[in-house]
């Protein structure tokens, strides 16, 4: 099968790698957002989202990328669960606690 890939598909060559790296680096060059600002943005996005969702803050990723349609800010936020409102939370806590109290 490999020979077929070699014949029809262009193997990944260093010029392709150069082009991809160049695109990525130019996206950052073209944006006035510094890595520090991007970090602040990441923290604020995480804070905003964590009001509504339980997230894995340590693994939030925020990046800028460009496609034909323009520039995109992409945030990758691992969701652990839905954060419930205070009243729902007390109800949920009650239901969660209930079985543990029964157990012994």
């Amino acid at each position: 099968m490999n020979w077929l890939v070699n014949l029809f598909g262009r193997p990944s060559q260093s010029a392709d790698i150069a082009k991809a790296r160049l695109r990525a680096v130019l996206v950052v060059d073209h944006t006035d957002i510094s890595p520090e600002t991007l970090n602040v943005l990441k923290e604020e996005i995480a804070t905003a989202i964590s009001k509504h969702l339980e997230i894995d803050r340590a693994n939030v990723e925020v990046s800028l990328s460009r496609s034909d349609a323009g520039q995109h800010l992409t945030a990758n936020v691992p969701v652990l669960g839905v954060r419930t409102s205070p009243s729902q939370r007390s109800m949920r806590r009650a239901t969660v606690h209930a079985p543990t109290q029964k157990a012994p």
Binding site: W3, N6, L7, R10, Q13, S14, K19, R21, L26, D29
Partner: protein
């Protein structure tokens, strides 16, 4: 009609600005145009040696700007090409010796006498680059098909445009057709797609550049070398001739891949 001021710049050093300036000057002069090549790299002059005129320098650009010499005294006539003259840079001064207004005034004077004023800009984006583009009617950006050069060219193009100059034109220099063919060098369409400016020429990597620089005889003095012919083609385009772009080492086609497969 006043001449045209064209600044050759790049951002990154060592990509061939001086070689391009010298050879475009030679190629235009061979076609009967009056050309002044101006070395704007004050403190690191080299256009004189590339043109083989280093032994004839008496006065330089800074002497003219500071009034110690008249323009005619400082300009060096190339004995091989009566239409070509060089205004050398000062070697013992630095970039702060000249400002943008002085360069504009100097070029206004040169434009009266010459069809083309070619300014060899220093590398970088600081003062030297700024005074080099200030008088430009047109800017040529020299790029080699490498990441760092293309990135710097992108920055320089942005800076030129922010000065409200016309969009620069691109010279892709030192392209290696064999490496492009193997997919190991950025190809012309890749570079054009990323920089999104018009191409004025493609110059292949050529050992003749080194031997010609050794001797102080620019390759464009004749069309025997691939690089010399490429610079001549750029000069023709500058004069409005429709010269098709050469295709160097197109990306691997089916047959190449098949041949490579058979070779293992």
């Amino acid at each position: 009609m006043p001449g045209q001021v064209i600044t050759i710049t790049s951002g990154k050093g060592g990509v061939g600005k001086t070689t391009a300036t010298a050879n475009l000057g030679v190629a235009l002069a061979r076609r009967g145009k009056r050309v002044a090549c101006v070395d704007a790299d004050i403190g690191l002059r080299n256009l004189d040696v590339v043109l083989g005129l280093e032994n004839r320098i008496v006065y330089d650009l800074v002497d003219v700007v500071e009034g110690r010499a008249r323009l005619r005294q400082a300009l060096i006539k190339d004995k091989r090409l009566p239409e070509l003259q060089l205004l050398p840079a000062a070697q013992k001064r630095d970039k702060s010796a000249v400002n943008e207004n002085q360069m504009v005034r100097l070029c206004d004077d040169l434009k009266k006498e010459f069809d083309f004023v070619l300014i060899d800009s220093p590398a970088g984006i600081e003062g030297g680059f700024r005074y080099s583009i200030a008088p430009a009617d047109q800017v040529f950006v020299v790029v080699t098909p490498e990441l760092s050069s293309v990135r710097d060219a992108d920055r320089v193009i942005g800076l030129v445009e922010s000065e409200e100059k016309p969009t620069p034109k691109l010279i892709i220099n030192r392209l290696r057709p064999d490496m492009v063919k193997r997919g190991d060098m950025l190809d012309t369409p890749d570079v054009l797609e990323i920089l999104a400016i018009d191409l004025i020429g493609i110059v292949p990597e050529d050992a003749a550049i080194i031997t010609s620089t050794n001797k102080g005889q620019p390759v464009a003095l004749n069309d025997h070398s691939a690089a010399g012919a490429a610079f001549t083609r750029i000069a023709q385009r500058m004069l409005g001739e429709a010269v098709p772009f050469q295709v160097f080492g197109a990306s691997p086609g089916m047959l190449d891949r098949f041949a490579r497969l058979l070779r293992g």
